[in-house]
């Protein structure tokens, strides 16, 4: 039985299953909740199956249709892909359970197919090893994400969706231009083949610039974050959770992959620029979050700030190698859990009081204790207090910074934590006190409260799981090319 399970091509299942699920949702709109939950369960099990396979056999390769590179499309999974797939499945399951209670009949008929298409795109993106295929998944991801934002239907949601769509398409076209240049230079689209051949030529530099710019725009790194707060804050809460937790991470993952595989040997000097932008994102995003008067906008700006941390790894990785990359993956996955939990908690507040104005939160700590606990636990991870996952990530990153005497970056990390504490306590403070004008309240389904709380607890639990997750990341040694203090070409 065990042997049989290892022969199933889990990576293919991971892409096909949500695709089939999405189409099934169109065919049987009455049964979307059940169909969706079954699909999510299947995806979760498939990730576990793929994980077992990877632990047994190392890196996973699959040539689609039996065609090998350079002509065919390769699926590829190593520890990094596995961890991203795992976090996607985990957040996906929680958001799906939340969504069954959040949406009414007609809304859920529209939500489920789009969400399952989004999941297809995410899984395909994490499994692709071909830069053109990556472009296609990036577009699929963008289109389904935009459609999800537009589900909100109001003026704010439509505006946010449109702005998101324009930014997203511009980003993909920049990426595609880079793909064209790389194909022109090396006659191959396969990441592994490209990584063997790449040299420092003007064409490659241009490709690096175009692809990085496109992906930075999609990842919403300061100053290209303008589209993120309106889109993420105006969407329905479970959708905001998916976008902030997963979609932004997908383009970051892609950027990381490209740098690790292709651009690393030639791009030492650009990494410094990423670091500067990261610092500015942390400070600007946190200050903007502090200024917000609505919970969802605050949480959206907090995403802008947290993305900044991810980019601090690029300058640090030159000296600290694996430590910095481990740190950044840890930060990314704990942010995914905590941010999804926080948006769900914000959704609960909205459902309960009919608004998310911070100053009018009325004694919610007593009336919605589970939701406020979820918000606070997620906040603990953002602030970087032990024992949360955010703490481990920041600790590793600080270690990498101090190892190289980058005191400036260390100071920014600590300052970012303090600012995060300020904006989290701004919300919590109002949640404990009585508001001047009480508003009518509605009950919040228990499922929605527990989904948020469990995910937030997951973000804390990640802090204890480091001995399990760090070895997983090492499968296929995606970060091996420059571990330690290898000489970096200028």
């Amino acid at each position: 039985m065990g042997d049989f399970l290892l022969t199933i091509p889990w990576a293919v299942v991971l892409i096909l299953l949500p695709l089939v699920g999405a189409i099934a949702c169109f065919l049987w709109p009455k049964k979307v909740n059940q169909l969706g939950l079954i699909t999510l369960g299947g995806v979760f099990l498939s990730v576990v199956g793929l994980g077992a396979w990877l632990l047994e056999n190392g890196v996973y390769h699959h040539a689609v249709g039996g065609w090998n590179a350079p002509l065919g499309i390769q699926l590829y999974a190593d520890g990094l892909s596995l961890v991203m797939l795992g976090i996607t499945a985990l957040v996906g399951v929680a958001v799906s359970v939340y969504a069954t209670a959040y949406f009414d009949r007609s809304q859920s008929e529209r939500f489920w197919p789009l969400w399952l298409f989004l999941l297809t795109a995410l899984n395909a993106l994490f499994l692709s090893a071909d830069i053109f295929n990556l472009y296609v998944t990036l577009e699929l991801l963008g289109l389904s994400a935009v459609a999800l934002v537009a589900l909100g239907g109001g003026k704010a949601a439509l505006n946010g969706a449109m702005r998101y769509l324009l930014a997203s398409l511009l980003g993909s076209l920049l990426f595609l231009f880079g793909v064209a240049l790389l194909y022109h230079t090396y006659g191959s689209l396969d990441l592994a083949m490209l990584s063997e051949q790449v040299e420092s030529t003007p064409t490659v530099w241009m490709a690096l610039g175009l692809m990085s710019a496109g992906l930075l725009l999609k990842t919403a790194l300061f100053p290209l974050h303008f589209w993120l707060p309106p889109a993420h804050a105006s969407a329905f809460s479970p959708i905001s959770a998916l976008l902030s937790a997963l979609v932004v991470k997908a383009s970051f993952y892609l950027l990381l992959r490209l740098w690790l595989e292709i651009f690393w040997p030639i791009s030492g000097s650009v990494a410094g620029l990423f670091g500067v932008l990261g610092v500015m994102a942390i400070l600007w995003g946190s200050l903007q979050a502090l200024r917000q008067t609505r919970v969802k906008m605050l949480v959206a700006y907090s995403t802008v700030a947290q993305i900044g941390y991810l980019f601090l790894a690029f300058p640090l990785a030159m000296g600290a190698g694996v430590t910095a990359w481990n740190a950044v993956i840890y930060l990314a996955i704990s942010h995914a859990l905590a941010k999804a939990a926080m948006f769900m908690a914000a959704g609960n507040l909205l459902r309960f009081g009919g608004h998310d104005r911070i100053a009018d939160l009325d004694q919610l700590a007593q009336r919605l204790p589970l939701t406020i606990a979820a918000f606070a636990l997620a906040g603990v991870s953002f602030i970087g207090l032990p024992p949360s996952g955010g703490f481990i990530g920041k600790w590793l990153l600080l270690e990498a910074a101090l190892m190289q005497g980058r005191w400036d970056l260390a100071v920014v990390m600590v300052l970012g934590g303090i600012l995060a504490a300020m904006y989290i306590f701004k919300v919590l403070g109002y949640a404990f006190t009585e508001a001047s004008k009480p508003s009518k309240v509605k009950t919040v389904p228990v499922r929605m409260e527990w989904a948020a709380l469990l995910l937030a607890s997951g973000a804390i639990l990640l802090g204890f799981l480091a001995p399990l997750i760090l070895p997983l990341l090492a499968i296929g040694t995606p970060f091996d090319a420059f571990s330690g203090n290898e000489e970096i070409m200028p």
Partner: protein
């Protein structure tokens, strides 16, 4: 200068023209058209590259362009639908930068 280089340069020109138009125009239809022109620019570069070998043209870029066109058509359809919705609600096919409360 070979034909391939000429095509590639025209493609780059179209791409830049599209970026400029995307930034400068407020009307959403113009923005959507600008994105389409950018896309066409990239496709021209790709096709020009297919002809860079003397004997037989390389089929892979053509396959990429076909896929790209499919993506561009669906993206345009979504963008147009969103534009119509925005027009129906606000009366103007423009992004609304005022307070989105």
């Amino acid at each position: 200068m070979s034909i391939a280089i000429l095509y590639a340069l025209v493609g780059i020109g179209l791409f830049c023209l599209g970026v400029y138009a995307l930034m400068i125009h407020a009307h959403l239809l113009r923005k959507i058209l600008a994105l389409n022109i950018m896309g066409s620019g990239v496709f021209m570069v790709l096709l020009a590259l297919a002809g860079r070998t003397e004997i037989t043209p390389d089929p892979v870029p053509a396959a990429m362009v076909i896929t790209g066109i499919v993506v561009a058509v669906s993206a345009t359809a979504l963008a147009l639908a969103l534009m119509l919705k925005i027009n129906a609600i606000t009366g103007r096919a423009e992004l609304n930068d005022a307070e989105e409360k």
